[in-house]
């Protein structure tokens, strides 16, 4: 069972979830701004001149270094599923900020995600080297 949960890991996971939320939104809007009939070369030129893609690259770099820090403190099979809390944050954003409808199916989905995260949070966040070698 879970014990001595490090504050640095909690902060790292929170940042990972927030960055994942922003990345998904910016990425889609950036991809939609590409020319629809463009060749890969034209797309590459558009990417290099689009400030949204540059912002996306900055966010990805931040996400990457934050993620390495998280992986230093937790199992991959523990940390990665917990980042799915970004589904909950995107849902809350869409309902409370963009005033989208919250139907029962989506609410049920969010409850499943929260239940899954709870199950994972009840396990040890890291496999110690002795257990790993066993």
């Amino acid at each position: 069972m879970r014990k001595n949960f490090p504050t640095r890991l909690a902060a790292g996971l929170l940042v990972a979830i927030l960055l994942d939320t922003v990345l998904q939104i910016v990425w889609k809007s950036a991809v939609l701004s590409l020319p629809s009939d463009g060749s890969p070369w034209l797309n590459l030129q558009a990417i290099l001149h689009n400030p949204r893609f540059l912002f996306l690259i900055l966010l990805m770099a931040w996400q990457f270094f934050n993620w390495l820090m998280v992986l230093g403190d937790a199992d991959l099979s523990y940390a990665q599923p917990l980042t799915s809390l970004s589904y909950v944050s995107v849902f809350c954003l869409s309902v409370f900020y963009f005033k989208e409808a919250a139907d029962l199916i989506r609410i049920a989905g969010i409850l499943f995600v929260l239940a899954g995260v709870w199950f994972i949070s009840q396990t040890d966040h890291i496999t110690h080297s002795k257990e790993r070698e066993a």
Binding site: K28, S77, Y87, A108, G109, L111, F112, F119, I120, T123
Partner: protein, 110 residues
């Protein structure tokens, strides 16, 4: 092959590639030896994965892409158990499966 099928296939490939990349990144923090080699390979695979994902979003809806992408959670849990020898308990598997179902329900209405 239809455009949607092609998009779905691209996202499935992305989910598997992300699993491999994450295992390499975890290896980099586990071992001091060849740390930058593991990171470099991990980053290279992630870059390829991001390019393929961007291409896939042109063919399928982001909601559908999100559901299929969440397959990476199952792939990552399996690879963590087999390649990194992490202690993946039944409770962790239940959690992963619940999240996968939850993501499916959320994205079905996205």
């Amino acid at each position: 092959m239809g455009q949607t099928t092609f998009g779905v296939l691209l996202v499935v490939v992305c989910a598997l590639l992300e699993g491999v990349a994450q295992v390499l990144l975890k290896k980099s923090v586990l071992r001091a030896v060849r740390r930058y080699l593991w990171i470099s390979f991990g980053v290279l695979i992630l870059l390829i994965q991001k390019l393929i994902y961007s291409e896939a979003l042109l063919f399928i809806d982001v909601g559908a892409a999100y559901v299929i992408s969440s397959l990476n959670m199952i792939a990552i849990t399996f690879m963590s158990r087999c390649l990194l020898r992490e202690k993946v308990t039944r409770m962790r598997w239940i959690g992963v499966c619940l999240i996968f179902i939850g993501v499916g329900l959320v994205a079905a209405r996205a």
